[in-house]
Symmetry: D2
Subunit: 282 residues, 4 copies
């Protein structure tokens, strides 16, 4: 029997970088986790144990720290590009570099109503993310938001769905809508201010979620995607995943009480998972 | 051989409650996880399988939902007391009830600069906690904060520590100080406004962390405890645990670069763990 | 601005099923977590809130339990197919169903050297997995193993890799090789005994890992894939991902001790991540 | 206001140690996570920033690796004592050392039916644990088991429990009993073979769980504790915690099907939590 290697990639994951930029009047803090994956002429390492073309993953880790030293880190998108270009520019046998960065947010501690110059508290579960895919042919940049918990207590219905012999779910005009948003948007060829786009798209997603009269998670997801595309002309496409983190009405009637949409149990398992990709129309 | 049962307790954990209070102009949202543990005359269940005095843990779960219906849930401390009293008042054979509640925070989504009346986003990893211990003899109420990430980029030194043959750590005048705060404070007999106390103590902890010129985690922890006690006269004692979530300076000299306290690697393992309990002096 | 929906899918995740089959002399236990994702004519739900073609995700959950009742559950691959076919057979507007199942293993407790007929202990982190993708055009079945921890204490070198200005890693002839295996193999059109194949492939992966004189993770990964393909003629392709869970030699020289490859620190972050896909040659 | 420090302790957590002992014919592998907590005359560090008596937690970490070099690591109990004694013997101002060790099990890979000399696979979620508390007055050694998943499909009833107005749980003669065992036993003054005791106690716990005709989790927990005490004369006391990881019968009647105790949904939240401490009688 013979076997052929039809695909391969390797790299370093979870390179955790903290950078402090020390201005006279305040410090800037960035905390990132960087994943690197390279593709290229690495087959000999797999098939023959010939490592001569392997950039050691330990070297990739070092590269993150060394390049972070000279980079302003204003946004993760430009740092991701710097990293990707480094691997292609310095290694003719590397065909593509994929850099994925997760940024963990910190907020300044307020002391007597004013932002402290060098003390921070954790910014929560929400993460800003970025994936650069650089090949010899071109560059793709996707940015995103992950783990953003959203919940609305009304303006959410679910009616008129298909009923079959296994359907027991009652229709409802007013349920809690809770989710953990993941959204990834693809930038087009025009230059973008990554921080502005992130802020604008995030706000469009939040406002649409809040204000939408939802007939279903699918409909709200689409409305959010449309709003995101409208908010930032530099993006071409947005992909959204929204689990339905159910809050189930508790039956209080057995205790002689009415539950007027007040008392719920939150469940993580099982959960719905709704996804959609929206692209700018012509 | 004979064996005796020298201690026993049982209950229900992770009862997840969502309560929505629907005012005309806005909705209030509370999300809690409730743990219940009872002690009392339950030995026969252990030694003889006689369950006649066991409150089923399923009944405890139902009780959380039923009592939440009639409770305003302005603060978790009063709801915890209501739950604890229920179990003692209705069961003469229950000697003590311990109710532990974790509150997961939600913030309102801002739409065009104004808080939305019924749409929320997740408040982050930080939790507000509370433990009521009610016996036939008395009541203890502890409140707390958990999983509050804190980081300061300067004003933190660590010098003059004991050196032995296994010591390799260099002294430093300027390191990053990062931690995940857990603090629990014990209320005295005087009535307290639990929400005010939580807010005041939290702010005292944050401000002290930010402004302290730290000579070590121990010293900052003590200063934070002192400030907390000073901020809220109703508390008698505060217990603080602060892991030292190290940010290690990366050696860039091997690449011919200077690392002027700029580039760090964040590590979770191993971590220091510093604890202290401070009590109001006489 | 106009926006178009270019892709959509939805379903239910983490439907946790326990099935007990009660034979006269012993009980069989299966514990699964099932994810379902459907594609089809669902666009109206997204763009117009028209839910009339939506199979509610709650109905999907019910379907798992109802179909599990009549299914022997001898292997997850056949149950996955039954579920996928159900959704396509009963819904002309469903174009594809993707069923992903994770099986959590249980082993029988040994009592006086013999397997107990109805008492079990947890089988560990390792999971057996399966993904069926059924469309109107055809069927793909992938099976796999996930979270299988592997470690060898010798027969692992890493030498001759590329060195650039950021390389500091020394070459080594003898290091610990630790990983958490994920492998997924694609079945060809011929009928397979899924349980036999799983057992055979798993053993081939384990034996090859154990016996390979590794010149690098890449080389061992390829050898393992080749062995898996050789062990089971019914599979066409195998995809393997192996993180390099580093065990770093501790420097004991500073304490006047020699570390003869004995004392290591285990780290989770950062970690190498090596992937490869091997296909049966012609 | 004045505040006093009424308790303090500090140390290092999650020091991850891998030790390989290289015999001619086979390698032994131990992987541990060590937590150290010291108490003593450390108040000046808290109240005055005087670190002169602080053993740096980094030094504690180094100490684990250095002492592991010279220790056979046959069992974690003796290594824990070695560590504890080190801190008291070398620091007159240290009043107590508490060492907690978690051992992650590895099993040998079988190759052609025989244990491989140096290749291992992960031993599962179950952990062996140990806590030594050493003071100038004496020594306490507790050993334990954690995260041991257990499930029996029959011989488990729950009847005759107290019913109040919030009780809805039906009585049952035959339910699934699933738990994640945590057990900790206290050794008496007589020398013990720690590995033998661990093996014997574990087997007693498993066999009793399997064979007990359970009238409730409490009764089974007590029986397991009694059996553990009987199995190993060197222990004086055992503390057991058993969450009730519910498997709930799925209602299939709505689909016209009977569910003869076959189809269940596994839930993690909420869960019962039953604890008990058993001591050897006189």
């Amino acid at each position: 029997m013979s076997a052929v290697l039809v695909h391969d990639a390797y790299g370093k994951s979870l390179v955790r970088l903290t950078k402090v930029t020390r201005h006279a009047d305040r410090h800037e803090l960035k905390e990132l986790a960087v994943d690197i994956q390279l593709e290229g002429e690495f087959a000999a390492a797999y098939t023959a144990g010939d490592n001569s073309r392997l950039v050691a993953t330990d070297t990739m880790k070092n590269t993150v720290y060394a390049l972070a030293k000279g980079h302003p880190l204003r946004d993760i998108e430009s740092f991701g590009q710097t990293l990707a270009r480094h691997f292609l520019d310095n290694n003719a046998h590397v065909a593509s570099a994929r850099i994925h960065i997760v940024e963990h947010a910190w907020r300044r501690i307020e002391v007597q109503g004013r932002d402290h110059p060098h003390a921070f508290l954790g910014g929560g579960a929400e993460k800003r993310t970025m994936t650069v895919s650089l090949t010899r042919q071109g560059l793709h940049i996707e940015s995103g938001i992950d783990d953003l918990l959203l919940l609305k207590t009304t303006d959410s219905a679910f009616r008129g769905f298909l009923r079959d012999r296994f359907t027991t779910l009652p229709e409802t005009d007013d349920r809690i809508f809770a989710t953990i948003l993941k959204a990834d948007w693809l930038y087009g060829p025009d230059a973008a201010d990554w921080n502005d786009c992130h802020r604008t798209i995030r706000q469009a997603l939040l406002e649409t979620f809040a204000q939408h009269k939802s007939l279903g998670v699918q409909q709200t997801l689409f409305a959010m995607g449309v709003a995101a595309l409208a908010s930032c002309p530099q993006i071409e496409e947005i992909r959204i995943a929204m689990p339905n983190k159910h809050r189930l009405l508790v039956n209080l009637q057995v205790f002689g009480m009415e539950n007027a949409n007040e008392i719920f149990v939150a469940t993580d398992e099982p959960h719905g998972l709704i996804t959609g990709t929206m692209r700018r129309g012509q």
